[in-house]
């Protein structure tokens, strides 16, 4: 399990580092840093730039402030002296799962199109319209590895009942396989496109213990109880966490486990660099903090034990 934890954490760190480099590249490519040496007002920078999508440009400037490249005053922004170091060491490189890199490169390219218009057909970040691209992302080795980690933490085996909130198109197959044929896997997602891809695979594999539901996880009221509830890379699409965390706790059996996989923001400085690119998905808000999750858990009426595994996993045991 330790090796899986390291793989997840090291790859997330690399995703942030590469995003940081691409963020800097945008500032150089579009002459934003140049302009900032002579203009200091937000409005001047926004109006003088040839970038047509001004809200995205504003988001880029705000991200530069968050990662420490720019400094914000009242209505003005200034360049700071900034240095950024990437260290490649043998230990972290051995955990790299490189096939996420070309997918991220595609996303970085999409920003160029998004600068023209947010509706550009070359932007492939919509859960329905671009469910094929999302399926490719979810099929990456990185994603399979965090599902293996979930399986290992939850000790998933035939006969167990699992609820997967925001299941996407691949988890129903990879997690569903582990709990059948005597168990039950219920996957909930609000994207009919993703569920349609998952369903065609489930039909082919005849996983009749896998049930998929097209629902919004913010409004569901589960009737059954589960041994394990999974939330992997889903909280960043929710404006508030407490209702969903409460739903997840309600759905758990006594001694059941809620497994959350996320790049928790306290653990990853400069995560805003990655978030800038993920915001091409309109539902994206921000990666959650452990603090916000703990707060939401405390608002529920349940006793729980919280375990932190590495930098990206929280396991909540319902007592």
């Amino acid at each position: 399990m330790n090796s899986l934890v390291k793989k997840i954490d090291e790859n997330i760190s690399a995703m942030i580092q590469i995003s940081m480099l691409n963020l800097i590249k945008l500032g150089l490519k579009y002459g934003i840093f140049n302009k900032l040496t002579i203009k200091h007002h937000y409005a001047d920078i926004l109006s003088s730039s040839p970038i047509r999508n001004k809200p995205l440009l504003k988001s880029l400037l705000d991200t530069y402030v968050e990662v420490g490249i720019l400094e914000k005053g009242i209505n003005e922004i200034k360049m700071k002296n900034f240095s950024y170091t990437i260290t490649l060491n043998r230990e972290s490189v051995q955990h790299m799962l490189p096939n996420w890199v070309p997918i991220f490169e595609e996303i970085y390219k999409m920003v160029d199109y998004a600068f023209i218009t947010p509706e550009h057909p070359k932007i492939l970040m919509d859960f329905d319209k671009d469910a094929d691209f999302w399926d490719m992302r979810l099929s990456l080795e990185f994603n399979s590895n965090y599902r293996k980690l979930i399986a290992s933490i939850g000790k998933l085996k035939d006969g167990m009942a699992v609820l997967d909130l925001g299941c996407g198109s691949v988890s129903p197959i990879e997690i569903g396989r582990l709990v059948g044929p005597n168990g039950k896997y219920v996957g909930i997602d609000f994207s009919p496109g993703m569920l349609s891809i998952a369903e065609s695979r489930i039909r082919e594999l005849r996983f009749d213990w896998v049930i998929l539901r097209e629902l919004d996880i913010r409004t569901i009221i589960p009737r059954n109880k589960y041994d394990i509830v999974i939330m992997s890379f889903v909280l960043e699409y929710l404006p508030t966490l407490s209702k969903v965390i409460n739903t997840a706790m309600n759905a758990l059996n006594e001694n059941g486990k809620l497994i959350i996989i996320e790049p928790f923001r306290e653990n990853y400085p400069q995560i805003s660099a990655w978030e800038f690119f993920e915001k091409l998905t309109k539902e994206f808000t921000q990666f959650p903090s452990k603090f916000a999750i703990r707060n939401s858990l405390e608002q529920t009426n349940y006793d729980f034990k919280l375990h932190e595994i590495g930098k990206s996993v929280l396991v909540v045991e319902k007592l």
Partner: protein
């Protein structure tokens, strides 16, 4: 191996290219020759050649199955055979998974 989603979408919209790939997938890893592909997909050999390698102005060589890396040409004793590449095999498998999604959403 990165699979460009625009390639899959473009193949999905082209009935002939799709039929050729599905047939080559069916016989994979065996190669076959142009006339045989044309017979199975019920099309003219010149159209099949266009889809495989491009043909003058009528078929754009850049989007031919060989240029996209989906099909490879094997030359033996002066004959040319066509076989699905490893990349092409992955593309066809995804195309099959996405069939119902594409028919509902695209």
């Amino acid at each position: 191996m990165f699979i460009d989603p625009f390639v899959i979408r473009s193949i999905n919209r082209s009935e002939l290219r799709k039929r050729i790939l599905l047939y080559l997938h069916e016989i994979y890893p065996s190669p076959t020759y142009l006339a045989e592909i044309a017979r199975v997909v019920r099309s003219d050999p010149s159209n099949v050649k266009g889809a495989l390698i491009g043909l003058g102005n009528r078929y754009n060589g850049h989007s031919s199955l060989v240029s996209l890396g989906l099909v490879e040409i094997i030359e033996e004793n002066g004959f040319k055979y066509y076989r699905l590449s490893e990349y092409g095999k992955k593309v066809v498998e995804l195309l099959k998974s996405y069939r119902s999604y594409y028919s509902k959403f695209m």
